[in-house]
């Protein structure tokens, strides 16, 4: 139902590869086990991350053929951290819009908590640019 945009796909791929070097098929299955992505989505992502020097590849012989492993670079780790931070803000913003705002209707006056206020400020500050990023 919800689709991963290009920034989120980058983040998921980088996060899985950060955990340990992996090859295309395994990576795809690992992500597909958790979240619905089409089988052919990941090659262009891998290729792009590779050309942006966030991933490097090396070949390993495996039962008479080749497996191309992907490894995360320092640049890739930094980018992943950046994406993780942005995701937290974005997640907070969506949570706020989808879950907190409707729930506030049910609350009595004066019960709104400080945490919600800060979530609201976060959301206002970050929502615009993150939503833009996700829809690309």
């Amino acid at each position: 139902m919800f689709q991963l945009g290009s920034a989120l796909l980058d983040a998921c791929v980088l996060a899985v590869i950060k955990k340990g070097d992996t090859y295309g098929y395994q990576l795809t299955q690992e992500i597909r086990n958790i979240i619905e992505v089409s089988e052919s989505t990941l090659y262009p992502v891998l290729r792009r991350l590779q050309s942006e020097e966030m991933l490097i590849t090396y070949d390993v012989a495996h039962s008479g053929r080749n497996r191309r492993y992907y490894q995360i670079t320092i640049k890739g780790r930094e980018h992943l951290e950046y994406l993780q931070n942005n995701w937290q803000h974005f997640k907070a913003a969506v949570d706020y819009l989808l879950l907190v705002v409707p729930a506030e209707e049910d609350l009595e006056e004066g019960q709104s908590i400080e945490a919600e206020k800060s979530a609201k400020e976060d959301a206002a500050a970050k929502a615009g640019q993150d939503i833009e990023g996700e829809q690309s």
């Binding site: 089988e39 090659y43 290729r47 050309s51 053929r65 080749n66």
Partner: protein, 197 residues
């Protein structure tokens, strides 16, 4: 469809990308198929979608990368290449068929216009040469009957002849330049198609 057929079709559809990109994509999907094993072939093809779909994800990602200037080779002609890839990507989608027909018609009509101008100039030059020769003949014949008029006609005929020849030579030169220019433009565009050969 077998894996080999699938990969062959995919390679054909990636033709407009640089050779390196094609090889990378193909070796990825070859590996992918062998990971799935011969038993999982049919099911994998089912999950992957058609070679056209797979190719379009690769091409559009490549075109975007190229446009955002993050490609590995910052060649100065990369904008031409990008334009070409975008055109190919547009043509690859079914909506664009009328658009392609329109584009081809525009190019074709431009070519026809250029060549008809060229042709009419050539005909004009030929007419002047023929008129010059005919008038010269009349002048020579009339030289004894009416010398003054005949000399005047001869003079005019020579002017016409020389102008016609000059125009003709000029038009032929111009035509050669035009053809060279057009082939150069097409070579520049089509040269991108096969990547580095």
């Amino acid at each position: 469809m077998t894996a080999a057929e699938y990969l062959y079709d995919l390679r054909k559809r990636l033709k407009q990308l640089p050779q390196q990109e094609i090889d990378e994509a193909l070796s990825y999907y070859e590996e992918y198929f062998s990971e799935a094993g011969p038993g999982g072939e049919a099911e994998l093809i089912n999950r992957l979608g058609t070679p056209a779909q797979v190719a379009s994800t690769i091409i559009s990602e490549y075109a975007m990368k190229d446009m955002s200037g993050q490609g590995e080779t910052p060649k100065k002609s990369s904008s031409v290449k990008t334009m070409w890839i975008v055109i190919i990507a547009v043509l690859a989608s079914p909506i664009a068929v009328p658009l392609a027909i329109a584009l081809i018609s525009v190019v074709f009509s431009l070519l026809v216009a250029i060549f008809s101008v060229y042709f009419s100039l050539l005909v004009a030059a030929l007419a002047m040469v023929i008129a010059g020769i005919v008038a010269a003949g009349i002048g020579v014949v009339g030289l004894f009957a009416a010398p003054l008029e005949a000399i005047a006609i001869l003079g005019v005929s020579l002017i016409s002849l020389s102008l016609g020849l000059a125009l003709g030579i000029g038009v032929i030169k111009l035509g050669q330049l035009t053809i060279k220019g057009i082939t150069w433009i097409f070579a520049k565009i089509l040269g991108r198609k096969g990547g580095q050969k």
